[in-house]
């Protein structure tokens, strides 16, 4: 039976959005449904994201807008999935489009209805109940779709049977229709992806923490409180008395690691978001005193440990290791009663505000929906998957990603989303491009030779810019600049609304140039380019002015000077905009073969996914064997057999006709760029030239050899990795394991290796199982069995494994005895072990730097590869056509490696499937009249894109990468770089400073 080339994505959080974009870009029709009125999910509610403290909505918003305007994505807000019939490749999904009682084809999202609505003070879901909304509302200003919704539980007409119709009168567009009914539709799709996410744990049953007290908030509520588009416009204050809190406590593990309430797992994100919220609070007011009460600090993720350290060192956040017993109120203040584990005594402390770091849990409704379709949940209530199939459910053709599958942070969610999209892409590859349509753009208006008509939009970005820079002042100033025919301020330019305003003004005022004074062009330029193109304005007539990253954020204490600078930055951009010229872009054909470097589990998984999509793969492995590190692992935390996983994977790779394996080989002499790479594969026997369209770097990592640590000798003192190989033969009565050996220390190993705690606990349990009499001590700093691995920690303690905490001031000493301070009994203890096992971190491959150079991709300070964006582009590089996955990106467990591998393969499939990429528009372009044929440019070009023909320079546009080096070298000025022409840059230079 023929497969259907469309996909249903259930859940419009960042995971669902990312998967939808990837699927739509690789040739599938996508229905993205979200039961709430707007997509965006939990990420849209966050103020910032850790560990970079990026403005959350700022980085997510472009994706909201992009998905809503993508020709192959139908974004269906306020829509529910009812049932699913059929089978993989051909499902019928019944959906209910709940009526908003607003015709979404007419509603402009202006908000006039909500302004007039008389039913006030309804707790806003978007603000987690601490803000208010009306009975007709748009949840937030960047909502997508930006449409009003009537809440029939509160509307006077529906709930009280009254005659009101105030909103209907207010709506000049006539969109409100109280008689509209729910609509039902059957969607025929080839696959279904559950990206249903998670909900914050509701702490109302944990009365000991006073969850109903006005000054006790959940972390998500606090997030809304800090956020510029939240109920207090970002002013942190107590709801009891409106005072700014001076002392704030965070209580960790609320609704996590608590079997009493039936939640055994660790929610994996709370430690890091608590630090993030603390840092942001401190940035608002450095004098705020913040304590975080935690059990184990779990900084499990790239850059998190360093972030934790910043919280301690740079911001003076007080981390208190303790499980809080209770919170009670006295004298209008909140008192926290806790056992200080470091001092082993019960203490009490007063705070002005208490934040409950609530975990991630699943809503009953979602669980019921999922099980009704036949998809299994695991014991934690999340969608069940296996280690080697982290995004596939038990039902063929139904996939899962993000927190629906288990607690995780945004980059892991995004990786799973891209991974699921990749898997679906491979599954439905025969039906690729059968249901997609191409977006038709209006003809471009002619601007050449006409006096520029410049429109300038100055973005507040909430308070990110507006809180520092006097935006009305900037707008007034801008209006005095020649050729500016329109200047205005916008609250959030990147919102649907902001883009619509640009679109409208281009038409209304016949704008021929648009200048956006907002954030960095590096993230938001594509969005505004698209808006211009839709309005018939060539995208290259758009110019950015970065007044956020380069102004408001770095001059927070100098508002006047920041405003002056902002004016000058905008003036520079206007000066350039005046001289901008429309550019066209060509297409570059893409070689549909792929190169994967490294044949560990990540590289092999990526290769298999690519091959499943029909793309030939060169798989190059430095060693003589496939399987990487995993082939030396003898057991997995959940009991699955690694040998079987690795063995099967190798077999599938070897049997796959589309995969060519090069063992004992290395890649060298890489040239070309996305679509058309060339390289040599060199082995001792032969040297082969290969060509390919994309490359995936899956070079893996290795276990750190702890030479010089704790008397490491490979015999009595061994590593956890070495133990793994001999674990069945271990003869020891007493074993001491030491965690964090060579990790979480000075550069470059500043990071937490994420897997060692689980690894140690797993091995301890295994030994206990084989020989229950063995005494096992695990000396640790924090036990980081994050996520559902927490159950192993519980199990180990039940099995009698003894956990002893140490800190950096009092590290264990290993001689004949192991000497360590035990804070529980308050004195040093001596253990005489037969075996000491050191848990050492994963370290990057030594040839990462070399591989990085070949592909022009960067390394992080830790020497792992540095992805394009830590949150939203975890498997991409800034360089097109090159992707990464697995340990090359950073330490992580196998399921995360495999999810990333699928993600990298999925992302790579986009250009491979399209068979083309759009060429650079910003290329070098010689003026034949002026060129004197001196050939200086020819010598300068690193890409051999410039040649001299008949005494004139000629640029090969497919080869030119647009660096502009030849342009600088050209003495005559005949060579120009489009969009960065000499006169354009000179105009910026000349307008840089006012005197």
């Amino acid at each position: 039976m023929e497969k259907v080339g469309s996909v249903l994505v259930v859940g419009g959080g960042v995971g669902g959005i990312q998967a939808s974009l990837d699927l739509a870009d690789s040739g599938y029709k996508v229905y993205l449904i979200e039961h709430r009125p707007s997509i965006g999910g939990g990420m849209a509610q966050l103020d910032k994201t850790f560990p970079t403290c990026d403005c959350s909505l700022c980085i997510e918003s472009p994706k909201l807008v992009e998905s809503s305007r993508h020709p192959n994505i139908s974004v269906l807000g306020y829509t529910e999935l009812l049932s699913v019939d059929g089978e993989s490749g051909n499902f019928i999904a019944k959906i209910k489009k709940k009526t908003r009682h607003v015709d979404i084809n007419i509603c402009t999202g202006c908000g006039a209805c909500a302004q007039k609505c008389v039913v006030k003070k309804i707790p806003s879901e978007f603000d987690e109940g601490i803000g208010e909304r009306k009975a007709i509302y748009i949840p937030f200003s960047q909502a997508v779709p930006n449409k009003a919704t009537i809440d029939i539980d509160h509307c006077r007409i529906f709930a009280q049977n009254k005659i009101c119709k105030v909103c209907q009168k207010a709506c000049t567009a006539g969109a409100i229709d109280f008689d509209l009914k729910d609509e039902y539709e059957d969607l025929n799709v080839g696959a279904i992806l559950f990206a249903t996410g998670a909900v914050p744990y509701d702490p109302s049953e944990l009365k000991q923490y006073l969850p109903d007290h006005p000054d006790v908030l959940t972390a998500m509520q606090y997030e809304r409180l800090m956020c510029a588009n939240g109920p207090t416009i970002g002013h942190v204050k107590r709801f009891s008395d409106g005072e700014e809190p001076k002392r704030i406590a965070f209580i960790q593990c609320v609704g996590s690691r608590n079997p009493k309430i039936g939640i055994e797992y660790c929610s994996a994100v709370c430690c890091n978001y608590a630090t993030k919220e603390s840092i942001i609070t401190k940035e608002h007011n450095m004098d705020t005193d913040i304590s975080i009460f935690y059990m184990d600090y779990r900084a499990c993720g790239k850059g998190f440990e360093e972030f934790y350290k910043r919280g301690q060192d740079d911001y003076g956040i007080n981390y208190v290791r303790s499980r809080v017993a209770e919170v009670y109120e006295s004298d209008g203040n909140l008192t926290i009663k806790y056992e200080d584990l470091a001092e082993a005594r019960v203490k009490e402390e007063q705070f002005d505000m208490v934040i409950l770091s609530v975990g991630l849990s699943q809503s009953k409704e979602t669980q019921e929906l999922i099980t009704s379709i036949g998809v299994d949940l695991n014991r934690f209530g999340n969608v069940a998957t296996t280690i080697d199939h982290p995004v596939e459910t038990n039902v063929n053709g139904i996939f899962v990603c993000g927190t629906a599958q288990g607690p995780k942070d945004i980059p892991e969610t995004v990786a799973q989303s891209s991974g699921a999209a990749g898997k679906i892409g491979s599954l439905l590859s025969e039906s690729r491009n059968t249901l997609t349509t191409k977006k038709e753009l209006p003809p471009e208006k002619d601007v050449l030779g006409l006096e520029p008509r410049i429109g300038v939009f100055v973005c507040h970005c909430g308070i990110n810019i507006g809180g520092i820079v006097d935006i009305p002042g900037v707008v007034e100033y801008v209006k005095t600049i020649p050729n500016v025919v329109y200047a205005t301020e916008v609250p959030y330019a990147c919102s649907d609304d902001g883009n619509k305003q640009i679109f409208d003004k281009i038409h209304e005022l016949d704008l021929s140039r648009v200048v956006m004074a907002a954030c960095t062009p590096r993230t938001h330029e594509p969005l505004f380019h698209a808006t211009c193109a839709e309005a018939g304005l060539n995208p290259f007539l758009f110019e950015f002015a970065n007044i956020r990253e380069h102004c408001s954020w770095i001059h927070m204490n100098e508002k006047e000077k920041a405003t002056e600078k902002a004016k000058e930055i905008v003036r520079m951009s206007i000066a350039k905009a005046r001289l901008l010229e429309p550019l066209g872009r060509g297409e570059i054909p893409v070689n549909q073969k792929a190169l994967v470097i490294g044949a560990g589990i990540s590289g092999m998984s990526a290769a298999l996914d690519l091959a499943a999509g029909g793309f030939p793969v060169y798989l190059v492995e430095r060693t003589g064997e496939l399987g990487g590190l995993l082939k030396d692992i003898t057991s997995l935390p959940n009991g699955e057999d690694p040998k079987q996983i690795v063995g099967e994977t190798i077999k599938r790779v070897e049997e796959n006709k589309l995969i060519t394996v090069y063992p004992n080989s290395e890649v060298s002499d890489v040239s070309g760029s996305v679509g058309n790479f060339k390289a040599k594969v060199i082995s001792p026997e032969k040297e082969e030239e290969i060509d390919f369209g994309i490359a995936i770097i899956a070079t893996g990592g290795e276990a750190f050899k702890p030479e010089g640590y704790y008397g490491y000798d490979g015999k009595r003192v061994i590593t956890q990795f070495e133990l793994e190989k001999i674990i069945d033969k271990v003869e020891a009565n007493t074993i001491v394991m030491i965690q964090c050996v060579g990790a979480r220390e000075e550069a470059p190993r500043t990071y937490c290796s994420k897997i060692c705690c689980t690894e140690a606990v797993k091995n301890a349990i295994r030994i206990k199982k084989q020989k229950p009499k063995t005494d096992i001590f695990i000396l640790y700093k924090d036990i980081r069995t994050y996520g559902t691995n927490e159950v192993l920690y519980t199990k180990a303690r039940e099995a009698g494994v003894i956990f002893v905490r140490y800190d950096d001031e009092r590290k264990p000493v290993v001689n004949e005895y192991v000497d360590v301070y035990d804070e529980f009994i308050g004195e040093n203890i001596k253990i005489k072990p037969d075996l000491v096992v050191l848990s050492t971190p994963m370290v990057p491959n030594d040839d990462n730097a070399e591989v990085g150079k070949m592909f022009k991709v960067p390394l992080a300070p830790t020497k792992f590869f540095f992805e394009a964006h830590v949150k939203l582009r975890p498997v991409d590089f800034a360089t097109d056509g090159v992707y990464l996955c697995g340990l090359a990106h950073g330490p992580k467990p196998i399921d995360e490696c495999i999810a990333q591998a699928s993600a990298a393969a999925g992302r790579a499939s986009i250009p491979l499937a399209a068979g083309k990429v759009i060429a650079e528009a910003i290329v070098a372009s010689p003026d034949e009249e002026r060129c004197v044929g001196c050939a200086i440019c020819e010598d300068k070009c690193a890409y051999l894109a410039v040649t001299i023909e008949d005494g004139k320079a000629v640029v090969n546009k497919a080869m030119c990468k647009g660096c502009g080096t030849c342009v600088t070298a050209c003495p005559t000025g005949a060579m120009e770089q489009l969009h960065f022409k000499n006169n354009q840059i000179l105009a910026q230079v000349k307008h840089a400073f006012a005197w």
Partner: protein, 141 residues
Amino acid sequence: MEEEWTPKITLFCCNWCSYAGSDDAGVGRKQQPPSTRTIRVMCSGRTDPGFVLTALMEGSDAVLFTGCHIGDCHYISGNYKAKKRFEMLKEILDEIGLEDERLQLQWISASEGSEFAEYIRKVTEEIKAIGPSPLRQEWMK
């Protein structure tokens, strides 16, 4: 003049490393003196000495070449060529009597926000120490 003098520094950033590093400084809220005006070019190899000379003639107290670290250039070797031009330009500016500090080159990677901010603070202090550009004083006459 009660207000402290802020030098005017024209900063050329390459799109891939130093501009991203500068963004990173912003994201990290690494506070810097408001002395710089950034001009984005795709590659440090695009930084035409003519732009630098113009910036100086316009009265910039200093001009900074920034780009990817040597070996990390997004365009293979643009930064190497930038370095050569920088060195030649440096000789000329020294010859015509401008202080060494007024033209500087610094490699900044995309993840070096802290380093970037630190560098801007350092340069601003250096320029404050030597005072306004003599070219600017000439210009003001």
